[in-house]
Symmetry: C2
Subunit: 596 residues, 2 copies
């Protein structure tokens, strides 16, 4: 079964040499992120991930969850591990110190969350919900709700959920039917059915705070008539103690392809038929602005799912690498030597390199983007903060879409390296492949990320931010071209940037009149931008090796340069195909007028 060791050297190199931790730690409000503290946090997180959460990952897969007499039973060890997790202060690592959080910068919190996801994604979805919900309440709720609920969520004492989806309203939240009736006393009665609610019910925490999207009686139709309500599992008395059980319950659990340890609940609000006429709820923020609040949080939520992609990919890579070093099979194709571990086979080596190169590229992008979050939120240099915000907005669908899609391919290769053993569940590698399959779907499918990227992020501003980013990429390519032995890498990067810019021009030229063709090419464009961003990041990694005097262990820095070379010559070349497909597939798909 699969072990996990936190990739601390990779994380430290990227944080210090690529994402610019030292600069971020100088920002107001980020000063606590001293080198010593960050090191200690990463070390402790690595130990907790490897020692406590990782061994439970397969337990969760095998046991799954079950619904018994209205109670959801989570896998053995879940509750105890969560208790330790919350007591360690991990839930609020990146959340506001005003409500019990640690307030560390996002670029420090991000690699920590990556470790949790590597160790146990199904488990980590529980505290991850607290972070999203805390941000929503902080952003939109009134003082009373904040006072009652926020610290409980930030510290992880209570659990949180997001109740969005209904059977007829998945990607399309405009179709939500759940209703909320004002009671005249500031509270509401919420009635309706929600599905796909992660951790909608469990016994891990004494209370669960549901955020529920619902419609007021006089709400306009569609997306402009959706409000957000806070609906606790147990009502909270004035003194903060728990009161009566609210009228809501879990009516079923989904039987899923993966993340078995995470209960996916169908929730019913207000169906007990008695006097209550609904579950008691309180509105978050203003009426009919629920979706707007959701979308403000969305960048963060999508970023988190992108990091899941890195985490699951890293875990699958580690297991495949260990197997490839141990498993002896066949003879060396070049020397003819027998008794060789399969990592000596050129194809296996290629797969492992490709996995590692993509993981490093994704991690570099995610940590860089996390740094932009920090700059956007904390920098007093308005121009720098604005630019960081623009970059974050542009690239969030890429971090989400590209990292989650790339994770699938990495988990796929990890099975392939295991051969027949990869298809046997006891080996454990298939779990990562199954678990990963949801991440290109939830928090907005890849198609939705791509539409967001092309529609909202490019067309609305006529590609301005991407042009700015392309100029930045070109600068990195030029720097690379001036470095010894890196000209060929720089030339590859230049070619891929040119493909990106050419495609951007096509999208901008056609976006208005031929929206269908452009959107049919949106997912290939997301892959293109992700692939080129990966090359840009790996170029930055190679340049960082040249600049740093830091000691990261024997051969480590030289290997990073070779890894960057592999990425640009072996992975980045996909950019050309994606670019061709955007126009080719987009135009021919849209022209296809016949029945399928």
């Amino acid at each position: 079964m699969t072990d996990y060791a936190a990739p601390l050297t990779d994380i430290r190199f990227l944080l210090n040499e690529v994402a610019g931790l030292a600069d971020i730690a100088r920002l107001p409000g980020c000063e606590e992120a001293t080198p010593d503290l960050v090191d200690a946090v990463l070390d402790e997180a690595g130990k907790f991930a490897a020692g406590v959460l990782a061994p439970l990952n397969n337990v969760g897969d095998r046991e799954g969850c079950r619904l018994e007499d209205g109670k959801v039973i989570t896998p053995q060890g879940w509750t105890e591990a969560y208790k330790q997790f919350a007591e360690g202060g991990w839930v609020g690592l990146g959340l506001s110190p005003d409500y019990g959080g640690q307030g560390l910068p996002k670029c420090v919190a991000t690699p920590v969350w990556e470790m949790w996801f590597s160790a146990n994604t199904a488990f980590t979805m529980l505290p991850q919900l607290n972070t999203g919900e805390s941000e929503a309440i902080l952003l939109a709720a009134g003082d009373e709700l904040k006072a009652t609920y926020l610290e409980k969520l930030v510290t992880g004492e209570w659990g949180g959920t997001m109740n969005l989806t209904e059977p007829q309203a998945g990607s399309d939240l405009a179709a939500i039917r759940t209703r909320a009736e004002p009671q005249g006393d500031g509270s509401y009665r919420v009635t309706g059915q929600k599905i796909f609610i992660s951790y909608g019910e469990h016994e891990i925490t004494p209370n669960i705070v549901h955020l529920v999207l619902a419609r007021l009686p006089d709400a306009p139709p569609g997306v402009k008539g959706i409000s957000m309500f806070l609906v606790p599992k147990y009502l909270v008395n004035a003194d903060g103690s728990l009161g009566a059980k609210n009228d809501l319950r879990c009516v079923g659990l989904e039987h899923k392809l993966g993340i078995h340890g995470s209960p996916t609940c169908a929730m019913s609000f207000g169906d007990n038929g008695g006097d209550s006429k609904g579950a008691a709820g309180w509105i978050v923020g203003e009426p009919n602005r629920g979706l707007e609040y959701m979308f403000i949080m969305m960048n963060e939520a999508r970023f988190g799912v992108g990091v899941q992609g890195i985490g699951i990919g890293e875990r699958a890579y580690q297991q495949a690498l260990a197997f490839a070093k141990e498993r002896v099979q066949g003879r060396d194709a070049v020397t003819g030597a027998v008794g060789q571990p399969i990592i000596r086979h050129p194809d296996v080596k290629r797969m492992l390199l490709s996995m590692r190169a993509r993981i490093m590229a994704m991690r570099a992008l995610a940590l860089t983007a996390a740094g932009w979050f920090d700059i956007a939120h904390h920098s007093r240099d308005q121009a720098a903060a604005d630019k960081a915000r623009r970059y974050v907005d542009l690239l969030m669908p890429v971090v989400k879409g590209w990292c989650t899609e790339t994770c699938q391919q990495i988990c796929y290769d990890a099975i392939q390296i295991h051969g027949g053993m990869g298809f046997v569940e006891e080996t454990g590698i298939a779990q990562h492949y199954r678990d990963a399959r949801i991440i290109t779907i939830y928090e907005g499918t890849t198609g939705i990320q791509a539409n967001d990227l092309v529609g909202r992020k490019l067309l609305r501003e006529n590609g301005a931010t991407l042009r700015e980013l392309i100029a930045e990429m070109r600068g990195v390519a030029a720097e690379l071209a001036a470095a010894e032995g890196m000209q060929a890498m720089a030339a590859r990067l230049d070619e891929d940037i040119a493909a990106l810019e050419r495609t951007l021009d096509w999208i901008l030229a056609n976006g208005r009149e031929r929206m269908g063709a452009v959107l049919a090419g949106a997912v290939p464009f997301l892959h293109l931008l992700g692939t080129v961003c990966g090359g840009w990041q790996m170029a930055r990694v190679a340049l960082a090796v040249l600049k740093t005097g830091g000691d990261y262990g024997d051969g480590y820095k030289a290997a990073l340069v070779e890894l960057a070379r592999f990425y640009l010559h072996g992975v980045g070349v996909q950019a050309q195909a994606h670019a061709a497909a955007i126009v080719g597939a987009g135009e021919t798909a849209q022209a296809f007028a016949l029945e399928l």
Copy 2:
């Protein structure tokens, strides 16, 4: 849950207009394949697949198999369905009439097997084993073994298995340790452990005939010391009746990611510790030639797994298409209209088109290759037969490797189209994704196919057959260029063929001195050749539309031309990236001298 309708129009078009059924039916020994008979066979197979096998597919997934008191219990309905299948004469559809087969050409049998795989791959593995084993016995066994076993296998009265893998001998059969001791009476005693034996034990047929690879006491080490033995579950009396139980048993079942309905057995031969000192077996053919016989059969076996890729892909596509036409979600991105089925979303349409285009390309290639099998075996025109054999040899690793890899992507897209419902097992689409995951592994991983392609098929003959095929592809591109409205498609095909030839040149130039780099690019090369073959086949499809006067229903032929256009502009463009990756990934991976 997923329905299935046999894609009879697609199959008929490809058989008649692309694979040249009429010509094949004129070959000696193929005359029975008259249009009427072929139509009747396809119709009946389609009905049986849809009506009997398809509904059992999910039953098999949910129930799986279990081992109780040494007996393997297969899913409900399996035995009855198999009885009908065998009685219908389907097991021996393409096998010799001398032993109870129907003797139909491979190009007719192939689409029938595709339907079985679509309907129920886990089930179909059982009769598929009979065909492989029958071919082996026909090829190599002596008259006595043929007389005793062959008709039973061809008619499906008894089951068959292939016992190759051992824990230390997976892809590397040289490491086999199972032993066979001659008894002086023409029989042998076989002792050893085998793993991953599909249908190694079950109660569906009254007897099971195992083919077992093992070593004789004086065998040379490695691959040249492996012999093939026939080891029946029950000994067979002189009158053909069943005698004593042989000393072999199933000691465990694997818990697998997919194909749950197919028992994957760990088999123990000769461990009952009594007087027997082994399971009674009989040698097939000559000593130490077991692996050679295996490899002669291998083309057929690998072809069969490639067809599994088409079959599972077709099933997943049908379900995704049906869902996309039914599921209403979101508004039309172009017109803004609400209440639209998701097939109206450009990205969903692109995915569906891409699935269908790839399935048609794979099917066209497989049926064309099946036709070459027939020509190779039956044509009296020696030059034509030789050429067909060369093409079959060259392209079998492509049919196996490319069709199985492409199937994964199709099943992946099928889940993606379902959104959150795709992750819920009850929807049924996840089963195809899980079932499919084995086909890039068994009968030789994609890496092994690619090594075979580059090492045995290209380098050994200095690329001669591929050059011949490239010339043929160029002819098709030229014909396309001369057709009205198809110039752009032809230009795309030409570009992709050029990429293929350029890469072939690089492989031939570097194959000897830099074998490691070439083999690190072998899998990308397999993808390249598959992708270009797909384009070539879709070009043939488009040309066939222009030539035929056949009636295939309203709009059908026009849609095929558009599908070919989509393939060349939207899928074929991958060829350029694969070509770049062969050199780029191959060279940089091999140059990577550092520790991972």
